[in-house]
Structure formats: structure tokens, C-alpha cells
Symmetry: C2
Subunit: 114 residues, 2 copies
């Protein structure tokens, strides 16, 4: 692997390094919860630029980083785009039913508060 | 209600003021997650002094306060003891299945990591 290529690979926790507390912290922010809901609804990878959030670009980058470092999403460069995907397989294997319960709770709250 | 009595009543969010993000933040700390697991396992009220946590008393008080202010627990003075109970009814009404999914995930992680 060349240095140039290595610099384009972002660090991720392995499945067994993912901690429940870190996942919950990642999802305790409204913007990050919204990102995860959009990724779950889409079911595929989305580039950072496909998210229109009411925060600055650097704050958006920070939120994606927290989600990646906690093991909630995987971020991969494809050409010049940074693509984001939910780590559903890893989360479902570690904590069966949790992701769906969290998404369900978020949807319910969103419907309630509008 | 007398002033003396009012000062012994701790503020709690009403059910419809409880936010998912706040609940997840409250549970994103290992000590707070442990407190909630113990309350769920006991199923009844426990006084703060019944918890033996590897942190200072003031840190313990802080953790209980975060849990109360997020709506995860209810704290009531009974005589000189501050009693703590899980707000399972409120959480189950707002987010059906979430608390059990969180407790299940915490138990699973605890079994895995020892």
C-alpha cells in the first residue's frame, strides 16, 4: 500500500472493539441520529454531500467522524467522494435488535414532535 | 406545600419532555449504564447508598442527576434516603421495546467482555 493510498483509508474499530456506550454516545446527538436514520432509510451508501444538515460543513464532518469512530458507520473513499454506510451487520451481530429499536424510537419521536 | 418540603422535591421532566437523545446520552456512560442495569434487575426502588460504584460519592451523585434529568430514573426522598427507580412506564410508553433492547445489549456486552 502506498503512502498516498494509506492516507485515504480512514480508521474504523473492528467489530469486537465496538462498545455500546460509544454507540449510544454517537446517537445522543440530533444531527447524528438524523444521519443514521437517513442511512437506514436509504439502505445503501450515501456521500457526505448528499446530506443537507443545518450545521456547518466542519460540524457535519465532525458528526460523521464520531459515527465512524464509534463503529456506527463505515466511511470509504470512492474516487473523490467519501461514502457512508451503516454498519448494520456488525451492530446486529453485537446487539441483536438494538439498531431497529433505536430507529423505531427515533421515528416515533419524530412523528410525535414533528 | 411548605418551603422545607418543596426543597426536598427534585425536578423531573414530564413524560412528554423526555427526549431520546437525552436518554441515549444518559446511558452512554458505563457507570450510568450499570446503575440502570441494577435498577432494572432489582425492579424496585434502591437508595443511592445501595450502589457500590468505583467512583467518588460526588461523581455518583452526578450520575444519578443525569439519569433523573434525562427522564431515565425517578428520585424521591423517603425520610433521609434518596430512593431511585427506573421510569419504565414512561420509557416503554414513549419508546416501546427500547429499554429492553438497551438492557439486552448491555447484558450481552457485559457477558462478552467479562
Amino acid at each position: 500500500m502506498t503512502t498516498a493510498r494509506a492516507s485515504r483509508t480512514l480508521p474504523h474499530p473492528a467489530r469486537d472493539e465496538i462498545r455500546l456506550e460509544g454507540v449510544l454516545h454517537a446517537l445522543s446527538d440530533p444531527m447524528r441520529l438524523r444521519i443514521v436514520r437517513e442511512l437506514a432509510a436509504d439502505g445503501d451508501e450515501l456521500s457526505c454531500s448528499q446530506f443537507v444538515l443545518p450545521v456547518t460543513k466542519s460540524t457535519t464532518t465532525h458528526h460523521f467522524r464520531v459515527l465512524r469512530e464509534s463503529g456506527v458507520i463505515r466511511q470509504i473513499y470512492r474516487g473523490t467522494a467519501k461514502m457512508n454506510g451503516l454498519r448494520r451487520d456488525d451492530l446486529d451481530a453485537l446487539f441483536p435488535g438494538l439498531l431497529d429499536a433505536l430507529l423505531g424510537a427515533a421515528a416515533r419521536q419524530s412523528a410525535r414532535l414533528g
